[in-house]
């Protein structure tokens, strides 16, 4: 390979797209490092504080596509203060200043401002794709700048963001000359949009494949949209809590029938049964279905719908479908690969007969041989069921089980669920992500450390007895990248046992555990290449000034991550970086 000119080697590298592979290539030799970095177009940064934009740009001057992740995962569940950080602005400023030819930006759990979006829209002439997932800090004004200024915009995908809706005319800001859109998702916007502008935009976008509207788009508007975009592959609809009249229903059904390319359906923040039935004609083509926001619709309607969906590969649903409903899924959806069952009754917690149990999980595992990813919220579980599931589905890559009540044992034997989860990790040799719940002792972690060789992400809550539990995991799981623990009795001994382990991990989160300030300080001293963040929301945070005694004080929230750029400068008062 060394006898080939650089351009040839670069051309060969073009075929290698996986980040891991490209990272490996760059380690082979100095010349390969240089060729690789100069030709690299796509970069993925799992923790925006692990590096800074200047160094990124220096290494990868040809950057076209950047993915950045900010807040730790538990921020999704209100465990991280709003002002924690994860600001995208400095990145955009640096990229603009260096005149990087940025075309794609994907952000997850980051703070984005209207100012950032405005700067983005003006700085990158070839900008094509903006994907924001679980971000916050901006308004529809920011979207207006993107719409108005990004002349080559193809994709604007807003997933589950907190966006302040000024109910303005941002959709109007797409110029008439904008006809290149392939994907538009504004399902998370709460306010009304200009329907006429939306219809005109869709009508002049012949390449539009994915359209996800928000709940404020009424049924007749949806019908018109579908009529002028029968080429849609991916559709997200609004909220239809009232039954349509006969005429509207017929028109809707006619429009739906024309959408023969439709493969993915979502939205439905509320849907009346008749409305849902209008989609029957295309059910057999669906490979992806998300009905997990329709809290009012009853199980029997869901079941009737799913019976038509024989080609489904991905299903997101509420537990109102019940075990019976899951049995129907198991017998109908033989191609199913990913299933998520969310809890419907979060507020009242009445004894809910229609919630799902171990019965539904076992049925799915028995009926769907291709299943590899599952997220399952349920009210009870047994070891026997988990053992059966493990036997039926040894191909799990992601297995996340959430038993709603913390510390709940096997409801038939009253024992811990160690054996059940043990069976899962032992059988599923390719398991990369695992979330455990229910009553669990140190033993489950012994099993995880022993068997989960490919495990990269582990989420632990209300589990374990002693430091040994955490140690089993840290010592055993060689591929661990993200470990997040809450309300478990792991302390300094586990935290400090093998400091170098954290070099191989992206991050560790521990909240409401037994680690103390003293332990964290010691860790920070022994590992200067780590940022050890203590998050303490309550009062003045001059932790360093406190006296010796406070070293024994337990740390409420600890978040540590490897970094090459030292302590970040943008931490709020509630965060102390040791």
């Amino acid at each position: 390979m060394n006898y080939f000119p650089d351009e040839v080697i670069e051309h060969i590298f073009d075929f290698i797209s996986s980040h891991k592979d490209r990272n490996s290539i760059s380690l082979v030799s100095k010349s390969w490092h240089k060729i690789e970095r100069c030709s690299r177009k796509r970069v993925f940064i799992g923790n925006c504080y692990a590096i800074n934009p200047e160094r990124l740009i220096e290494r990868f001057p040809s950057l076209r596509s950047l993915t950045l992740k900010g807040k730790p995962h538990f921020a999704d569940f209100n465990l991280v203060p709003h002002e924690w950080g994860g600001f995208v602005h400095p990145w955009i400023v640096a990229l603009a200043k260096a005149r990087v030819g940025l075309q794609e930006l994907r952000l997850k759990r980051m703070v984005v401002s209207d100012e950032s979006l405005e700067l983005l829209s003006r700085s990158f002439a070839s900008f094509k794709s903006l994907v924001l997932v679980s971000c916050e800090g901006f308004t529809t004004d920011g979207l207006a700048s993107v719409a108005a200024n990004c002349r080559h915009l193809r994709e604007l995908d807003l997933q589950e963001n907190e966006i302040e809706d000024h109910r303005g005319q941002w959709l109007n800001c797409f110029p008439e000359s904008s006809t290149a859109l392939t994907s538009l998702n504004f399902s998370c916007l709460k306010g009304e949009t200009n329907l006429a502008a939306l219809e005109r935009l869709v009508a002049r976008s012949p390449n539009l494949e994915s359209l996800k509207v928000n709940r404020a788009v009424p049924l007749d508007a949806l019908t018109r949209l579908m009529s002028c975009a029968p080429q849609l592959v991916d559709l997200g609809v609004g909220s239809y809590e009232n039954e349509p009249d006969q005429e509207s229903f017929m028109k809707l059904m006619a429009a739906i029938k024309k959408c023969t390319e439709l493969r993915s359906l979502s939205g439905f923040s509320e849907v009346a049964p008749l409305c849902l039935s209008a989609f029957y004609p295309i059910c057999q083509n669906l490979t992806s279905l998300n009905l997990s926001y329709a809290a009012e619709i009853q199980g029997n309607h869901l079941i009737r719908f799913i019976q038509f969906c024989k080609r489904l590969q991905r299903l997101w649903i509420l537990d109102s479908i019940g075990d019976k409903g899951l049995e129907v899924v198991a017998s109908t959806c033989k191609e199913l690969q990913e299933l998520r069952v969310f809890p419907s009754d979060l507020h009242d917690e009445e004894d809910n007969d229609t919630a799902v149990t171990e019965i539904g999980l076992v049925a799915i595992s028995a009926g769907c041989p291709k299943l590899h990813s599952i997220l399952y919220f349920c009210k009870q579980m047994t070891n026997a069921a988990l053992i059966t599931v493990a036997k039926n589905c040894p191909n799990f890559i992601r297995f996340r089980l959430c038993i709603l009540e913390p510390n709940k044992p096997d409801h038939t034997t009253s024992q811990s669920l160690d054996e059940g989860f043990g069976a899962i990790v032992q059988a599923c040799k390719g398991l990369r992500r695992l979330s455990v719940s229910g009553l669990l002792t140190d033993k489950v972690f012994l099993y995880i450390g022993m068997y989960a060789e490919q495990l990269e992400m582990l989420s632990i809550a209300f589990a374990g007895d002693t430091d040994k539990g955490m140690l089993y995991v840290l010592n055993g799981c060689k591929k661990m990248r993200k470990l997040e623990i809450r309300d478990s009795p792991f302390g300094n001994a586990a935290l400090l046992a093998d400091v170098d382990k954290y070099r191989t991990m992206r991050s560790l989160w521990m909240s409401s555990c037994e680690v103390t300030l003293g332990g964290c300080k010691r860790l920070a001293r022994n590992a200067p290449w780590l940022n050890v963040e203590i998050i303490n929301e309550n009062e003045n945070n001059d932790l360093m000034e406190r006296n010796e005694e406070d070293e024994r004080e337990k740390v409420d929230r600890l978040y540590l991550y490897r970094t090459v750029v030292g302590a970040r400068k943008d931490a709020p008062p509630c965060v102390t970086i040791l």
């Binding site: 999704d76 926001y293 917690e349 009445e350 709603l404």
Partner: protein, 171 residues
């Protein structure tokens, strides 16, 4: 963070929590609002809210994204007005505050409402907007902070005439 194991009997419904009903996060300002909440009762009884065995709300559990939690909360409420032959349904989530809601109600039912004051209620109005909250109590619209109202309101009733005045003055 301490939490207590669940009792066999689920007494959650009678629980007196520090925090908005339906939310898990305990914020300081919400605690304060709860304390300040003055329920205007019809009855003159002085019953205290039944004290619950505390199962402390656990922050961030179950692990469901707040986006999803907010979406799943049922927010359609029925609105009735004394003397009007029809019922309407509205989505409380589409309003950000009391003035917006009251304006919409005025439009819907064709009435005008006076100024709300914490001390005197809707003095001077011909109608009084009331609502039934999660505990089954009838309250005056405006008594509690908006967020608390929008998550606990089950039904709205716009009262007219003497009933209205009685509720209003029962402080």
């Amino acid at each position: 963070m301490a939490y207590e194991k669940v009792n066999e009997i689920n007494l959650k419904d009678t629980e007196l929590r520090l925090g908005l009903p339906g939310t898990e996060q305990v914020k300081e300002e919400q605690e304060v609002s709860c304390v300040r909440s003055n329920k205007r009762q019809y009855q003159s009884d002085n019953e205290e809210a039944s004290t619950p065995p505390t199962k402390t709300q656990i922050v961030g559990w179950p692990p469901v994204r707040s986006y999803r939690k907010n979406n799943n909360s049922v927010s359609y409420v029925k609105v009735s007005m004394d003397g009007a032959p029809y019922l309407r349904k509205i989505d409380l989530k589409t309003y950000k505050n009391y003035p917006e809601l009251l304006k919409e109600l005025e439009n819907m039912f064709k009435f005008t409402i006076g100024e709300y004051s914490e001390r005197e209620g809707y003095k001077g109005s011909e109608v009084v907007p009331t609502y039934e909250d999660k505990d089954g109590d009838w309250m005056l619209v405006g008594d509690v902070p908006w967020d608390m109202f929008s998550s606990s309101c089950k039904r709205l009733r716009i009262m007219k005439g003497s009933d209205a005045l009685a509720l209003d003055s029962a402080l």
